[in-house]
């Protein structure tokens, strides 16, 4: 079982410290919802784990520091789905997904049969096989989001990090996306997704990490993290919380004056 350990990760951009001594450990099978208000450090934590930002502290996968891994080797351990769905050129969906195999390609060689099989598998999981030959420009926002997930899935890594994967999607697409992430976790992967929709986070994630001002404010099962006190203290909102047969239901109600 894969183990991702973050030790005292801090990120300072310019003079501003975005992330302060964040430590956590995540085991395979967990679907982590990274929640917190805008500017809490969710994206920074994801990028810091990936090594995309200059950071202090350690990130270890199965006890091995990721900084000791060479680029392609690290890319076979962790994949990244950014919030930005911009694709520069009008590639077909299949070509975009195939890019996920980059860390596996041999120098001067094209994709192998194994790569082709992984691409097809990833496209199947994200339910985008029928879109294979369509240029990305012709796809709807939801279809494009699923193609980009398939790209990250094709990278076939034990750790999968997604930055606001549900942003800008309608409820049906949000749910189908969370289902893909959930299935990924059920197969033993580590999945971390930053989320703004608290109800989605409560419904699908096995564990929530609440960030506030670059530090962890709460960490645990959705019922433990999503409390009236935490929501008031961190988001400055009142909310309607109910434990039903479908788990915890969260309905933000109003902003409250911060003490």
């Amino acid at each position: 079982m894969t183990m991702l350990t973050v030790e005292a990760l801090s990120v300072t951009l310019g003079t501003r410290q975005i992330l302060r001594d964040v430590s956590l450990s995540i085991r395979g099978g967990e679907l982590i919802g990274l929640i917190g208000p805008n500017g809490a450090g969710k994206s920074t934590l994801i990028k810091g784990i990936l090594g995309l930002l200059p950071a202090s502290g350690n990130v270890l996968i199965d006890g091995q520091p990721v900084t000791s891994l060479e680029g392609a080797e690290r890319a076979r351990q962790m994949s990244y789905l950014p919030q930005d769905r911009d694709v520069a050129w009008q590639l077909t969906a299949a070509k975009v997904v195939e890019l996920g195999r980059t860390p596996y390609l041999q120098p001067m060689r094209g994709p192998t049969e194994i790569d082709a099989a992984k691409v097809a598998e990833a496209m199947g999981e994200a339910d985008v096989l029928p879109l294979r030959d369509r240029p990305l420009s012709e796809l709807s926002g939801g279809e494009r989001a699923r193609v980009l997930i398939a790209r990250a899935l094709a990278q076939d890594t034990p750790v999968f990090l997604a930055d606001e994967p549900t942003a800008g999607l309608d409820p049906a697409h949000q749910i189908s996306l969370m289902r893909v992430l959930s299935q990924l976790a059920q197969r033993g992967r580590i999945v971390v997704a930053s989320l703004h929709e608290l109800s989605l986070a409560a419904r699908w994630c096995t564990r929530l990490i609440l960030l506030d001002g670059g530090s962890i404010a709460a960490d645990g099962a959705p019922e433990v993290v999503l409390t009236e006190q935490n929501l008031a203290a961190v988001y400055g909102i009142s909310a309607y919380l109910r434990h039903g047969e479908n788990g915890l239901i969260v309905q933000p109600l109003d902003t409250i004056a911060m003490a």
């Binding site: 990936l50 995309l52 080797e73 911009d86 520069a88 050129w89 975009v96 890019l99 980059t102 860390p103």
Partner: protein
Amino acid sequence: MSHRSLLAILGSVVAALFLASLLVGPAGLDLATSIGGLFNGDNEAARLVMQEIRLPRAILGLMIGATLGLSGAVLQGYLRNPLADPGVLGISSSASFGAVIAIYTGLSAAFSLALPLMAMAGAVGAVVLIQLLSGAYAGTLTLILSGVAITSLAGAMTSLALNLSPNPFAALEILFWMLGSLADRSMLHVWMSAPFMVAGWVMLLALGRALDALTLGRDVASSMGIRLARTQWLAVLGTAASVGAATAVAGAISFVGLIVPHMLRPLVGAQPSRLLTASALGGAALILASDIATRIIAPGRDLKLGVLTAIVGAPFFLWLVIKNRRNVL
């Protein structure tokens, strides 16, 4: 059309144009005399025309065209922007400025490699300035504005050199050289520039996989194991070496690096790595064809290659801006 057949077609077009370039010229040699002149020295006049005038001209056309097409494809892929090319970004004019300094100061007369080296230094300077001005996440507008600023600066400095030129004939020579031409170049020019162009190509052609990954943005490319710093160095040095050397021998030839990748992109499924070789061949074809056209349109008038490509290229650039207007603004 498969990628192989596209490359085969482009390759055949380049080969045909290369041959045509050897056979067209004011000397009016017939086919047998031309080919004879190329391989043996029985007919001294034909030998001179073929080996000393037409062969270097055709070789330079091929190499400079390939350089411009390839560097355009790499810059567009690296900057993720269809408006990027060595001319628009001011790299060509900066290379020109470097070369003019070499001519003006007499460095090039004292030391023949000074011309390409100074041109390359100019090209490196432009690329470094672009990086500084527009930052790592260059938006289209910033990038084009940086290019405008650099082109103006290089142009102003070149004008200053012309302005202060001690004799009017030198100034005229610089001016004519700057218009961009392949006329009256010798094998010496080929030997002087070829190593730098080939070195540049090697660096640029190594970038295919990185450019493909950059389609998804810098962060994703990095998360897929692409070393961004290495990519940037190869793109900068490869462009500077090849475009600098091309500019040093032929002056600034604009728009080829812009047009060729743009026209070929749909034929390679928009994949940046596949665009590289195709654009190199397309650029070679375009320069060879344009150079033949300068000889046919105005024989004896020395129509400059750079003037012709600019006349054809500028309207194309306008069309591209209009087509991309929504993205640019």
